[in-house]
């Protein structure tokens, strides 16, 4: 029923109205004195020394790519972990094979120097 979604509608309206108020009030009430220091991006107290939009060393990308690969394999560990007690030795062997293949990939990546910094 459409009326079932009424709470969601109310939430959306409240959130929008609050956001508008929160942004409009300071603009109307507060003084606006822009200085150079205020306009700089916040860098956790560090003084920024260059523009952030520049080329990063390629190693960042290699690490990022490898991270995605090894990270996503965890989704197969979750259902396996839930069922491990029923699967017993069979499940253990299956997962050992799975991780063994990943390990070969890891060793290859390591030996090829992709993790060197």
């Amino acid at each position: 029923m459409p009326s079932d979604y009424l709470p969601i509608l109310i939430l959306i309206v409240l959130a929008t109205v609050f956001a508008i108020i929160a942004m409009a009030l300071p603009a109307v009430l507060g003084p606006s004195r822009k200085t150079k220091a205020k306009l700089e991006p916040y860098e956790s107290g560090m003084v920024p020394y260059t523009d952030a939009r520049r080329r990063f060393p390629v190693q960042y990308y290699v690490i990022a790519v490898l991270f995605i690969l090894f990270d996503i394999e965890v989704i197969f560990l979750y259902p396996w972990a839930v069922m491990l007690r029923q699967l017993r030795l069979f499940g253990l062997i299956e997962m050992a094979v799975f991780l063994g293949i990943l390990l070969v990939g890891y060793v290859f990546v390591w030996k090829k120097g992709a993790l060197e910094w």
Partner: protein, 102 residues
């Protein structure tokens, strides 16, 4: 609150899929085209989940796990290829990638 009917999910995912497909066709940046492909795949994931729930079966959900793993591998390969190309051509615009005749 009653459950959302399955057809809602199917229509939503069809829309997301079309948005992704149109994005692939109109955007010119290789990375954004790639993100649009990911959008298409995730639209399919939504379809599969909705259908699996409707049928009360697990195979659709398992399919989604596989798609996610494949998509991750695709990201890795795709980013590596884009990096290799930027190394040569210094651009990710597919209109400037034109050494081959098309």
């Amino acid at each position: 609150m009653t459950a959302v009917p399955t057809s809602f999910y199917l229509v939503l995912s069809a829309l997301i899929f079309v948005i992704g497909a149109v994005g692939v066709l109109v955007r010119r940046n290789a990375l954004i085209i790639f993100m649009c492909v990911e959008l298409m795949m995730n639209a399919v994931n939504l379809t599969l989940i909705a259908l699996a729930d409707r049928f009360g079966r697990l195979d659709g959900q398992i399919f989604v796990f596989m798609v996610m793993a494949v998509a991750a591998a695709e990201v890795a390969v795709g980013l590596a290829i884009v990096m290799a190309l930027v190394h040569h051509r210094d651009t990710t615009n597919v209109d400037e990638i034109n050494l081959l005749k098309g």
